[in-house]
């Protein structure tokens, strides 16, 4: 098992060819916080291998929308399909899940109580309650050790849970944060190794025994980390602490960490925020390179118009939580509604 295999066979980079084939398809996403509607009925697609940007003035709901896609919060309505699988929607029958847990144990306790009234034998009672506890523990174990079985069980009962952030990473979505969120006291190498977590397969038992698989995986994953560091331009900085890196390098490191999970879609939340023009240009080149060389689709949230206009294939504009425009950079640039949202309505 090499760590370098992508989550799935990579699709060739063809931004224009993928008409109708979307890597991510969000439909009618609404997110309400109490009385505030942060995102209202936004439909949004990312074609295979494209760089798509989401722009809008401050408070337009970009980050909220982004967090919904990344599995951080459930939408109030609407759903997100990732590579043909519905990953995120308002949960269905979520109340059933705790019932599913407690019901078997509860049943056993009821049987125990019945048995007790018939036989008045306390040892039986204790035994049966122990069995109930064991059933509960077995359920826990199943959920922990074999999450796939557990999910299938949930599906069978008709429960839908939105994908959690780690499920999205597993499915092939990598992300970075607007405010850098590295692990500050870990080295660059360790940060990226954590990003690789979902693609590594060694279990705690492998670690106990220091099995061959574990050791091979550790060696090959470190090899891959060096490749990633070289890709983002941090070659040889393996042992540097994340928090000691300069600001621009921290951004790159975060990008490398997101890439470590071999994503097919990369969500970048303002990747050039706080960068000087030179760093911004470098980051823009890097993003384009990632798309072109690694065939990874990119969703970009950005304030900097030069970045967005330069590399995006499609641009979606949000304002007050609603989609006000969508199109190629040229179309969006000329759209009067966009100009109004950014610069205000022309004086009458």
């Amino acid at each position: 098992m090499t760590t370098a295999t992508p989550a799935t066979p990579a699709t060739p980079a063809s931004p224009r060819a993928g008409e109708g084939s979307f890597v991510l398809d969000a439909r009618g996403i609404t997110k309400r916080f109490g009385g505030l509607v942060a995102v209202r009925d936004v439909t949004f697609q990312i074609p295979d291998g494209a760089i798509v940007s989401l722009i809008g003035p401050n408070g337009a709901g970009k980050t909220t929308f982004f967090n919904v896609i990344a599995g951080l919060m459930d939408p109030t309505s609407g759903f997100v399909t990732f590579r043909g699988r519905r990953m995120i929607a308002r949960p269905i029958r979520a109340w059933l899940e705790p019932v599913l847990w407690v019901l078997p144990a509860l049943l056993i306790v009821v049987i125990a109580a019945g048995e007790f009234f018939v036989s008045r034998d306390q040892t039986h009672l204790a035994l049966i309650i122990a069995v109930a506890l064991a059933a509960l523990a077995a359920m826990f174990l199943a959920a922990i050790v074999r999450p796939n079985w557990y999910n299938r069980l949930l599906h069978y009962v008709g429960i839908f849970r939105s994908a959690r952030p780690n499920d999205m990473v597993m499915a092939g979505v990598g992300r970075t944060f607007q405010n850098i969120r590295l692990f500050p006291n870990m080295t660059a190498m360790e940060n990226i190794l954590v990003g690789m977590h979902s693609r590594l397969t060694s279990t705690p038992v492998d670690a106990f025994l220091s099995s061959g698989r574990q050791r091979r995986e550790e060696v090959s994953s470190r090899e891959r980390v060096r490749e990633l560091l070289a890709l983002v331009g941090l070659r040889g900085r393996d042992d540097e602490l994340a928090r000691n890196l300069p600001y621009g390098d921290q951004r790159r490191l975060e990008l490398a960490r997101a890439l470590a999970s071999n994503p097919v879609l990369l969500l970048l939340d303002e990747p050039t925020a706080g960068m000087n023009p030179r760093e911004t240009a470098e980051m823009t080149r890097l993003i384009a390179k990632i798309r072109n060389d690694l065939a990874i689709s990119v969703l970009l949230i950005e304030h900097d118009m030069r970045v967005v206009m330069g590399i995006s294939d499609r641009i979606t504009v949000l304002d007050h939580g609603e989609r006000i425009a969508e199109g190629t950079p040229e179309e969006v640039r000329r759209d009067p509604k966009v100009i109004e949202a950014y610069l205000g309505a022309p004086a009458a």
Binding site: N58, T63, L72, F140, I144, H197, Q250
Partner: protein, 395 residues
């Protein structure tokens, strides 16, 4: 260690030190086995050497080392939860209790069972781990203070349940006559501390190897990541639920081992062995020892236990021996010769902790990482990368 006198000497000393460190890093398990063998052989020798042999007879020393080993085991387990994964657990003694009661049910006249010791070690660990997961599951969403309060409650509930479920646990009196271990036909005897001592050395060696391996594995990195930033860890693909539960389970299973060992050694299990003070003592041990640093925690726990169990107990005897005069502070007269210092154990812990937090918050033997975490603010060199953050939108 003395400071090297000349640069040449420094280089040589440094080279040797580097080579030793390098070796221990690359062959960690061999180093642990070597180190533990050395310690196991040295401790009995030390106990017979002049300053120490005056304190108590040799057998008492050896017995004390075994008991200290129990606490080292507990500290190592709690260090997984608190030090590595960063989940503050104040009810750790509960898992110690589960291990002990598991053994008491497995091998005592009270239950009528007599299962062999070594399998029961595993059973005790598994039982404790199960309860670790059962406790961990409802607390997954909690952090910091809230988690501490819930675990504190759990730690209080467990001994009370064992106390009140009299029919099954024999209440206050506890379960007596627990069979001592019997390994390969050799029956352990309370009068001979050697087998217990050696058994503890073996258990500790294995535990240390496993915990070091865990720390350096994928799982250990995941724990570290959760401790640093849980949200970023989840966004990097770590299943925080599984990872935290594994921390609880593995920490609890170590306590389970300690419980089985302790029950078989004391041959009695009663609820008052698992009160809050045990959780507190172990937590104090890992804080003083150097949270997150495995060997630091082990050494810290050993030193603190030995100090409290032998040193404090004998301190008034020491003052009597040097004929320390009684002195008076205003109306109170203090005669150190007649003070029972063990009664002031927690006062001393408190003072030690306060001093530690003020002077050396990372503990006596900190891990490099922990020291960095705690000294971030003072250095002040780091311009916060989040300074540009619009607002904690994700918090």
């Amino acid at each position: 260690m003395t400071a090297p006198a000349t640069p040449a000497e420094a280089r040589r000393g440094g080279a040797v030190r580097d080579r030793v460190l390098d070796f221990s890093h690359r062959h960690r398990s061999i180093s642990i086995i070597g180190g533990m063998t050395l310690v196991t052989l040295l401790l009995p020798v030390l106990a017979q050497a002049p300053p120490f042999n005056a304190f108590q007879p040799f057998n008492a020393w050896l017995d004390g080392f075994s008991n200290a080993g129990t606490y080292v085991l507990l500290a190592l387990g709690l260090n997984i939860v608190v030090g590595l994964a960063g989940l503050l657990d104040l009810g750790y003694a509960a898992f110690f209790a589960f291990g002990a009661y598991a053994y008491a049910y497995g091998a005592s006249p009270f239950s009528g069972n007599d299962f062999p010791f070594l399998p029961m070690l595993v059973v005790g660990a598994v039982v404790a781990a199960t309860f670790g997961v059962l406790l961990g599951a409802p607390t997954l969403r909690l952090r910091g203070d809230y988690l501490a309060i819930v675990t504190l409650g759990f730690g209080e509930i467990v001994p009370i349940v064992f106390l009140n479920a009299e029919q099954y646990t024999n209440g206050t009196n506890g379960i007596g006559g627990v069979y001592p271990p019997e390994i390969a036909g050799h029956e352990f005897n309370i009068l001979n501390p050697w087998p217990f001592y050696l058994l503890m050395a073996v258990i500790l060696t294995l535990t240390l190897i496993i915990i070091y391996r865990l720390q350096d594995s994928r799982l250990g990195r995941a724990w570290m990541a959760i401790r640093e930033d849980e949200l970023a860890a989840a966004a990097s693909g770590i299943n925080t639920v599984t990872t935290k539960l594994l921390a609880f389970a593995l920490g609890a299973s170590t306590a389970g081992l300690a419980g089985v060992y302790n029950a078989s050694k004391l041959t009695v299990v009663s609820p008052d062995q698992f009160l809050f003070q045990v959780s507190f003592t172990v937590l104090a041990m890992i804080v003083l020892g150097g949270m997150g640093n495995i060997w630091g925690v082990a050494v810290g726990a050993f030193i603190i236990y030995t100090l409290q169990a032998t040193f404090l107990k004998q301190l008034n005897v020491f003052f009597a021996a040097i004929n320390f005069p009684a002195f008076s502070l205003g109306p109170i007269t203090i005669d150190l010769k007649s003070v029972n210092f063990t009664e002031y154990q927690f006062l001393l812990y408190g003072i030690a902790l306060v001093l530690m937090m003020l002077l050396r918050p990372e503990g006596l033997f900190p891990s490099a990482r922990r020291r960095r975490e705690l000294h971030t603010a003072e250095e002040g060199a780091e311009p916060s990368p989040t300074g540009l953050d619009a607002s904690g939108e994700l918090a």
